[in-house]
Symmetry: C2
Subunit: 203 residues, 2 copies
């Protein structure tokens, strides 16, 4: 399998982490998103018309975008995806929460900081809004973790991987997790899983 | 089953449409989102800590939020969810695309207009950005529909339901679908499905 990827991307990291945990060998193709390498006519034509990474290129040559769809695809039939119908729906509940309420607010400020994006007046206003909504999302997580070790079915699953990716580097976007002790304990539990790799590790 | 809902919500409509197509009886509980009825302490405590509808209350009393997670849950084992592993991943790919690249840009301007939200300078700037990103998302859809009748596995599925919900009322948020003939033909195919109901129909 081949992973079209960007090393700094939390969405890419989700897939790298899962592939590693499952012991699946993969080749990584790095794109420089600051140079719009995922928006070239060739990339849009062949790899992802939506101009984003990660994209999983399967052994049969299919291109599958959307990090959380890739997680679901790769984890089916493994212990990282609970089996029951309701449990799978709960995994999806948290993964849709992640993409709608968490990632746009927690990941984007990190992107602006780490990629040295110019903070126009427009972006400063957006940042204020994202800061509030990001803390709201972290609050929802903190509350859910009260009495739970992991997000779904009390075991480590792709729901945790999806939420871990940008939460564990939220400080790089200016979020302070001091007031979220349950999240901090959960981050440690995830990082202590056998076979865990950091976001900085390409392969 | 009970659906915690708001009649004007496209996300709620997805679930109402699917429940109706599947012939599943349900009770609908309407919330006035202009009055923050989904942000009361009771709602946050019992129904959805993230303060949003739709939420499906199952027969066993579980509360399941996130429209697309609900679609997946309800459609499992029915013709509206293709069976293969890759096909299910493709359904999820389009549903994550919908929540990340489409809904925040196509649905939010409609919300601002139909709910008479005051257009501050801040919102006007955001609207401009959303207009561009919304048309980008519609462009990705138009391109995918070239040579296809439906989004996944060439048949009507929950991927179409998820994308239909806010696309068919995109004009209410100021989007012009004139330049998207393949989307317009697909909207007609979806609306022609047996048992189809409009967004305005509560039950």
């Amino acid at each position: 399998m081949r992973l079209h990827d960007n090393l700094s991307s939390g969405n890419g990291y989700k897939v790298r982490l899962l592939l590693t945990l499952l012991g699946l060998p993969f080749e990584r193709v790095e794109y420089d998103i600051d140079k719009d390498e995922t928006r070239t006519p060739e990339f849009l034509e062949k790899i992802n018309p939506n101009g984003r990474v990660p994209v999983l290129e399967t052994e049969s040559g299919e291109f599958l975008p959307e990090s959380n769809a890739i997680l679901f695809y790769l984890s089916e039939g493994t212990p990282l995806l609970p089996e029951g119908r309701l449990e799978q729906a709960r995994v999806l509940h948290w993964m849709f929460f992640e993409q709608y309420s968490h990632e746009p607010n927690v990941a984007t400020p990190r992107f602006w900081t780490t990629h040295h994006v110019e903070m126009t007046g427009e972006r400063r206003i957006a940042l204020e809004q994202k800061r509030k909504l990001g803390y709201d999302a972290l609050g929802v997580m903190e509350r859910h973790l009260d009495g739970r070790n992991f997000f779904v079915a009390d075991r480590y699953s792709i729901a945790d991987i999806a939420l871990y990716a940008y939460t564990h580097v939220a400080d790089e976007g200016g979020f302070d997790l001091q007031g979220f002790p349950l999240i901090r304990a959960w981050l440690e539990r995830v990082a202590a899983q056998p076979g865990h790799v950091p976001i900085t590790q390409g392969q």
